[in-house]
Amino acid sequence: MQIRALSTRPGRTDGASGGRYRNQAALRVLSVLSAFGGPERSLGVTELARRLGMNKNMVHRALTTLAVEGYVTRDPSGVRYQLGYRVLTLAGDDDEFDIRALARPVLEELHALTGESVFLSIIVGRSRVNVDWIEARGRRVSASRRGRSVPLHCTKMSRALLACLSNREIAEYLASAEPLTRYDALFPETADATAQDVWDDIARVRRDGFITWRNPQQYSANYIAFPLLDGHGRPHALVTVGGPLERFGPDRIDGLMPRMRALIAPLQQQCRHVAAAPVIVEEAA
């Protein structure tokens, strides 16, 4: 985030007093603090002085004031300074990136458009977890237990998220998940899978930017899923629409495609501006 640079030119006048700006010291201290809003983790006195156009003595005094209050602290080297813990306790509006809140309106619109069940899934460790959904009425694709984990190679929905990782990560994951048939009893739709089957699905998602699949095990359910990626192509989440085949078959999906894409595109755009949470798929000892 940009922190505005403060002008600390001496002689700047205050409209009220007409004389020398009376808050010079406060301005200096605040501009030293602002300098820590950049990408550097720590800054030295000389560096700050050069950057802010102050002499080292002024910078040193400003840092001392800020350090007494906990707004800056010495870094581990003991020579340079870093932002202090006191900054944290200035409660602000955090406007934290919340993928669930951001995606919710789109899930509702997709549900209204299709009349089918809609899901939002994220990667948690080595699994996919659905963190929001809207279930359709009547005959429908139903949701699993709240917050249940599904391994990243089991179910096509999981594979659509797995596809968003790098080839190296996927290979590492697949190697450590052997035997891939371990969870077949729980996820019959992708039973007897080989690593090649998983790679084939990954290639499809990557080629099309979405994936559709039929689930022969679940009353012939049919699905379409769209990944939400950050600016580096890392996965935030996956949006899936699923319905019974007789109602939500390939033709209907084709017909709805332009409108589904139009609903999802702005959300995909928003997601690109925020870095996704890191994914660590390697198995912890």
Binding site: A25, R41, Y71, L90, A91
Partner: protein
């Protein structure tokens, strides 16, 4: 050193602590200084983007510079990003806000949160610091910090005139937390119900909390989903144990006794 700078920081903290936009008169009353002096401080703060006028009125809210600096500090806690997906999973599994608290001096500070699905929430902002004796997340950390830490905490608290429970009461409670592997805290708005915190043990101790009234205060371990929640937190624990660097925080090099928060 410059009192106008310190005054500006006090004004900034007052604006930050206020629950709604505040004007110079109100700030002056809170700090015992004149509205004119406050106005000069606000002017300096406004120039730096630390405060901003609320909808072009004469009242102020925190400015964008504060958010930028806060994000900069938060981003230095590696565990925060790594934890986020797990917090989202917990928030959805429990319906309540799930949060991460790490140790900062003799305080626990809330550095990450995933909002729950329930509409009613009373979660504090990120950066909220509580004494290690105060609240379930803090107490889980204190209980698992290791031998002697409760005594060191109490000694520090007395030196800094902090109000803390008696050593005996604290010891009793910490013992129970160690036995259960969980701390509970009665929720103010739902009597008899409790929020909970579970420990994340690694190179340091952190706590993951579910901040809503999910447990029965008298029988906290009877909840059907508790094993599932514990399993999610254990996944985080395994991750940070395999990669100790994830537990590195920006203030690890500071002597806890020197960290003084308001």
């Amino acid at each position: 050193m410059s009192s106008s700078a310190r005054r500006a920081l006090r004004i900034l903290e007052t604006v930050g602590a206020a629950e709604r936009p505040v004007g110079p008169t109100e700030i002056g009353r809170a700090l015992g200084i004149s509205a004119g002096t406050v106005f000069r401080g606000l002017d300096a703060l406004e120039r730096g983007g630390y405060v901003a006028r609320f909808q072009a009125s004469a009242k102020y809210v925190l400015g964008t510079s504060v958010g930028g600096l806060r994000q900069n500090v938060l981003a230095q806690f590696a565990i925060r990003d790594v934890c986020m997906p797990y917090l989202r999973q917990l928030a959805f599994a429990s319906g309540e806000t799930a949060s991460l608290t790490v140790r900062l001096g003799w305080h626990g500070v809330r550095i990450a949160a995933a909002p729950g699905t329930n509409e009613v929430t009373s979660s504090p902002p990120l950066g909220t610091a509580r004494l290690l004796s105060d609240g379930c997340a803090s107490r889980v950390i204190l209980a698992l910090l290791g031998p002697g830490s409760a005594a060191a905490f109490t000694a520090w608290a007395h030196k800094h005139r902090q109000v803390v429970p008696s050593k005996a009461a604290l010891d009793r409670d910490l013992k129970k937390i160690r036995e259960r592997g969980l701390a509970v805290e009665e929720t103010a708005f739902a009597r008899g119900r409790a929020a909970l915190a579970l420990p994340v043990r690694g190179r340091a101790i952190a706590a993951i909390s579910i901040e809503g009234p999910v447990l029965d205060l008298r029988r906290p371990e009877s909840h059907d989903d508790l094993p599932h929640w514990r399993e999610i937190v254990r996944s985080v624990e395994r991750l940070v144990q395999a990669r100790p660097a994830l537990f590195a925080g920006p203030f690890d090099h500071l002597d806890p006794d020197t960290v003084v928060l308001p």
